[in-house]
Symmetry: C2
């Protein structure tokens, strides 16, 4: 059989993937980091604390869906913040929007950036773009220190364990609201509805107390638990369900389409029930 | 760790699930059958040829999406055929439609029916309904022997290996067209787009040569490869995308909703490309 990586996504269920080789393993100041080459997932895979973060083959789903849904909802996004996301995938998608003048990445773990640049160049390659400012810092603090600054904020965090615990609190969403301009929008990855229903419910209700427009949407990410991922979007004015057809401009994607922009908000009944 | 079941969904990737106990293992005339109790999936799990067929916890997604999409597309489905589906889950959903007078199940492997009744009563329990006729027979032959008989046909087969090979051929779809009435609709499960793109492409194009209305739709099934499952629908007249709002009647579901009926046809770009 050779070398296999197994992620216990719950105590009693997981995925397993054949590993061709391990490039790097390190206990950083924040988490365990593994960069491996997979046999199935089209190239390399980044693991943090033994959880799959991204793979060369399916990364486009997550990165496109985090970026394009809020960026096409906002009529003219210029200043964008990505909290976390040290692999650079969300930044790459953000830069596809010509209106964006400045994209700030605030990643707490510089090692994630370093090894993504080295081993995931197709994902991290755009971190060198002149419109991008990379900061190795605490996203929670960055939010607290900035007001009325961003059009769109994306929270591309790990699960709510370890360094990302603060990023799933009402205090954080409140800070995000203040860091956004008057018509700002934010989106956060909020795990899967099969194993983390309570988390989704809690985040959705917290966000709804702060943002007039709160929406949950989904995407299929095969290397994430259950294959069904959720994103919670909070917006001060603009509604992702009311984007006019002429707002969508041509964009090279492999998952996102304008049709899917609308359809991804149609939730399975048991997921819709979490928002009630 | 104890007892774990691992399904190699590809040569290099799989899922693994903790097993509390194995109830039954048998090599039937057609395939290996295992009925086990899982720790994660809310109860029991049926395996055929080492592949997860259904679990007590996530079975509702597949069964609802196979049944309700074509049954709400047809204006008045009375006679329904399920090919395969010996666990009875699709039949259970079919019977939720009051217009249905007769639901025929043609399953090639009687052992699947027998052990589903015994260990999956919540799924198979409606096989005893007076509107249901259960036949242990070859679905391919049943199709060939019946003309102009059914309003809706669902193909709830295993993967195109072993007993189900014939169910993924153009000859079969041609037979289905003849077994359907003049405004009939059929749907087949057609695997996942991450590992079986060629299969989806082939089936879609075969079906399109026979049925004027051909549509691909998806659902999230966490215990199936990649978590994203496709269904190919062929229809002689009625278009699932043109169902009027007043066609939908109240129905108890956990996944399907009228909104999702429309949204499930909005495909990720790389899946949409398979239909071109």
């Amino acid at each position: 059989m050779g070398l296999w990586f197994t992620e216990k996504q719950t105590d009693n269920f997981g995925i397993t993937a054949k590993i061709n080789q391990t490039y790097h393993t390190e206990q950083t100041d924040f988490q365990r980091l593994d960069m491996v080459e997979t046999a199935e997932w089209g190239g390399n895979m980044l693991l943090l604390d033994d959880m799959v973060m991204t793979t060369d083959r399916d990364e486009f789903v997550y990165h496109e869906m985090v970026a394009h849904v809020p960026l096409f909802t906002h009529p003219n996004p210029k200043a964008v913040l990505v909290v976390g996301g040290g692999d650079g995938g969300v930044i790459r998608e953000v830069l596809k929007h010509p209106s964006v003048q400045k994209a700030v990445l605030v990643e707490i773990d510089g090692k994630v950036i370093e090894y993504s640049k080295k081993y995931l160049p197709n994902i991290a390659g755009k971190l060198e773009d002149p419109r991008v400012e990379v900061r190795v810092a605490d996203g929670f603090m960055h939010i607290a220190e900035n007001q009325n600054k961003y059009d769109v904020i994306m929270v591309d965090s790990t699960e709510p364990v370890g360094p990302a615990v603060n990023l799933f609190t009402k205090g954080f969403y409140d800070g995000i609201s203040k860091a956004l301009k008057d018509d700002g929008i934010f989106v956060a990855q909020t795990d899967n509805p099969w194993f983390k229903a309570d988390l989704i419910k809690q985040v959705y209700h917290d966000v709804r107390e702060i943002f007039p427009v709160t929406r949950l949407y989904t995407a299929n990410i095969p290397t994430y638990p259950s294959g069904l991922w959720t994103f919670t979007l909070g917006s001060k004015i603009h509604d992702p369900l009311k984007v006019k057809d002429d707002r969508f401009h041509e964009l090279e994607t492999k998952y996102y389409t304008p049709q899917l922009h609308r359809a991804c908000f149609a939730l399975p009944k048991f997921v819709e029930d979490l928002t009630k």
